[in-house]
């Protein structure tokens, strides 16, 4: 399982990464949250067919597009993909 935050490198993207890390700890998930930014992050976002940043990706699936500062929302989005199986 992987959790990634894709961003263009802006401050909002970094904030989402921080909050997502916190959320993952809170959920006691073992996985590291990966932060993909700069050119690499933008490429990934465009490859996914998206045009906004940041993007939260769980197991290769888009969990959330855009920013939220609410840990509950992020938790919900992560779990909705994890519970799909």
């Amino acid at each position: 399982m992987t959790i990634q935050v894709l961003g263009s490198g802006c401050s909002t993207c970094k904030k989402l990464y921080e909050i997502t890390k916190e959320t993952a700890q809170h959920l006691s998930l073992q996985q590291e949250v990966e932060y993909v930014s700069g050119s690499e992050g933008m490429k990934k976002i465009v490859e996914l067919g998206l045009m906004s940043s940041p993007v939260l990706v769980v197991n290769g699936e888009v969990a959330m597009v855009g920013f939220s500062s609410d840990m509950k929302v992020i938790q919900e989005k992560i779990l909705s993909i994890l519970n799909k199986k």
Partner: protein, 324 residues
């Protein structure tokens, strides 16, 4: 015309003169009254704007806008379409690059992409909704019309200059998945109404502190700064005032909703409307963070062209509204 904001004025008056028992037309009373009234009014409009934008985003996500623009040949109409779509699309400098690459890699002409990039911050939901409430319908209509014209002309110029070679080529070859975001349209209307409200409220909540700051600054100017001081300190009249206002706005970067109360207070103190609008538009549109962001994909000549065209557009807005 009936003032729909009358209850807000009533409330602001009550707080100023009854709760705090301030003397009418004293400095502090003027400032507090301005602050109360503008916080209520702009706070209310902020909620309306963000609710409206949540609805728009739901039915017309940016990915679908891209499909509309790349679906067929538009024979020049795409410039108008891109400008209009830019008006209703909220813009954040965070997304300017993915948006730019997404458009260009989908085969949308460079000029049309720039029309969208110019119009998105220049003409936006707040100039559509806040301007009529603060400056009247005539000014609001004219501003939005001129903004759309500027973005169309700007995009058209960039297309004519054939500047494709100034885009970092590594970004042009990305294969972008085309996704259809219209799959989730079976939700019940009540669920949707709640979803829009939640989304709009969350965004309003993040912007609100900046609005408070803007209104506080506006209230301070309104109450305490004498008209003569502004007239003496700033070059309010004359040819140079507009370019100077544009320059002053570049290092500042703010959300348009939070600059508006400040601009409103300046206009109240005798700064000509065009100069004030030029300052506001420059703050919102020309920003260093966005330039740094775009520099990752655009080479300097194209970036400079983009910023010059936008600056000239803002100067036109300034001169035009000063001449009215």
């Amino acid at each position: 015309m009936i003032d729909i904001f009358f209850p807000f004025q009533r409330l602001a008056d009550d707080v100023t003169f009854k709760v705090f028992n301030l003397t009418p037309s004293s400095y502090i009373a003027d400032a507090l009254n301005f602050f109360m009234y503008d916080i209520l009014k702009i706070g209310f409009l902020l909620l309306v704007i963000n609710y409206f934008m949540a609805v728009v985003r739901y039915y017309l996500p940016i990915e679908n806008i891209r499909s509309i623009l790349s679906s067929r040949k538009w024979y020049g109409l795409d410039y108008l379409l891109a400008a209009l779509l830019g008006v209703i699309t909220p813009f954040c400098s965070c997304s300017s690059i993915p948006l730019f690459i997404g458009f260009v890699s989908a085969g949308i002409p460079l000029g049309v992409t720039f029309t969208f990039l110019i119009s998105s911050p220049l003409v936006n939901e707040s100039s559509l909704i806040l301007f009529p409430a603060l400056f009247g319908f005539k000014i609001a209509f004219l501003y939005n019309l001129v903004g759309i014209l500027i973005s169309i002309i700007g995009g058209f110029l960039i297309q004519r200059l054939h500047m494709e070679r100034y885009i970092d080529p590594t970004f042009l070859n990305i294969k972008s998945a085309s996704i259809d975001k219209s799959v989730h349209k079976h939700k019940k209307i009540l669920v949707l109404l709640k979803h829009w409200w939640k989304e709009g409220f969350t965004i309003s909540k993040t912007i609100f502190p900046y609005v408070v700051l803007g209104v506080a600054l506006g209230a301070f100017i309104h109450g305490f700064v004498p008209k003569e001081f502004i007239e003496h300190t700033f070059l309010t009249k004359g040819f140079l005032s507009v370019p100077l206002a544009v320059l002053a706005g570049i290092p500042l970067y703010a959300n348009s909703v939070s600059v508006i109360p400040f601009v409103e207070a300046l206009v109240g103190k005798g700064i000509p409307l065009g100069t004030a609008l030029a300052f506001m538009t420059s703050t919102v549109t020309l920003s260093i963070p966005e330039a740094l962001m775009l520099k990752k994909v655009l080479k300097v000549p194209l970036l400079l062209t983009f910023f010059s065209i936008t600056s000239v557009g803002i100067l036109c807005i300034g001169f035009l509204f000063n001449a009215l």
